[in-house]
Symmetry: C2
Subunit: 208 residues, 2 copies
């Protein structure tokens, strides 16, 4: 198999790299330069018409897209350590938190990224999408308020979903660090989230 | 266990009902009236602070939120027929398509729903979120163009992910029917998608 990967700051490719690091797995990688828009060229769009990374190409040429689907597939091949949960209950908890992070936290952040960041100006133009400053403002305010909600939900828990590191933490770190890249840091006063961020950032996988 | 459910047109509760129908499972249900805003009252927000349905309450009082997490949990308890795939490859394919449907098709539809539909006016006001007509327009155009993309990707396949009905079809039907409710039908000329919609709508589970 072969992983079509990219570099920082893209949060989705990073999830797979962090997942591989936590699992101690190695997969042959080809780095595709998003800065050069190489993910929008036929070599990639023939594999994923959406021109999105990461892509996992299997030995028979079939591809799996979507970072979570790729990681779940790799976990099925290499179950330990379990990052999607070892029991139905753990899996449900991790799945729930992963989805909450994506829909409550990442979705408004994407609005800021797409509607206000200089690096997406060309992408939006090519997609025929208008930049809507008000949508960026709304995303910014929703992102910050949902960070406060997560902080409260987490309480003193060491990890986002249950007692051990999981895919939810990987997704969370990829989002929060992307938020910092976009200019939205963890608001002061969110001590649970800040402590979690520090713990996650000190893991070797955070360098991936 | 007990399922906190709602009625049409809400797409997320419907997914769990369709899933249960396809599996031939029965779970005790309590219908919460979203029309009466009962999902924003403490009886529900004490279980899910987001005030979202569905919620699966387990016998020990723990809850699982997020429709897909609930269904995946129920599948772990009742594996056959497999709606999340019987092999790692099938699961990856179903997972990929489920996520594509949610991020490419449902996300822009939500923009139309939240920024333009009369039924969300109060919700948006309560959330302190401004209605942005341009965001609704952008969502409408992206929804329709991504429907054309799905139509092309599907080709003559009978189901969205692989050779048998799966969670991806359930998610797809919940989105497309919600789109129709919001006023966005399948555009004429998308024959693959229209034929799939007809096939899925003729299944008994579509009545759920």
């Amino acid at each position: 198999m072969k992983l079509y990967d990219s570099t920082m700051p893209a949060p989705h490719p990073r999830r797979v790299r962090m997942f591989l690091a936590e699992k101690g797995l190695d997969v042959p990688r080809e780095v595709v330069s998003m800065a050069d828009r190489a993910h929008k060229l036929p070599a990639i769009t023939s594999k994923n018409a959406l021109g999105q990374l990461p892509i996992l190409e299997l030995d028979d040429g079939d591809v799996i897209c979507e970072s979570i689907a790729i990681c779940r597939y790799l976990e099925a091949l290499h179950p330990a350590p379990a990052l999607f949960g070892a029991t139905a209950r753990e899996t449900a908890e991790i799945d729930m938190w992963t989805r909450r992070l994506e829909f409550q936290i990442q979705a408004p952040l994407s609005q800021v990224w797409l509607h206000a960041h200089p690096m997406t100006e060309r992408h939006m133009r090519e997609q025929g999408m208008a930049r809507i400053p008000q949508a960026a403002d709304e995303g910014r305010s929703r992102y910050l308020s949902k960070m406060a909600w997560i902080d409260q939900e987490m309480g003193a828990r060491e990890f986002i979903a249950g007692g051990q590191v999981s895919m939810a933490d990987i997704v969370g770190l990829s989002i929060v660090d992307f938020g910092r890249f976009v200019g939205l840091d963890i608001p002061p006063g969110l001590q649970n989230l800040s402590a979690w961020h520090e713990r996650m950032s000190s893991r070797p996988s955070a360098m991936a």
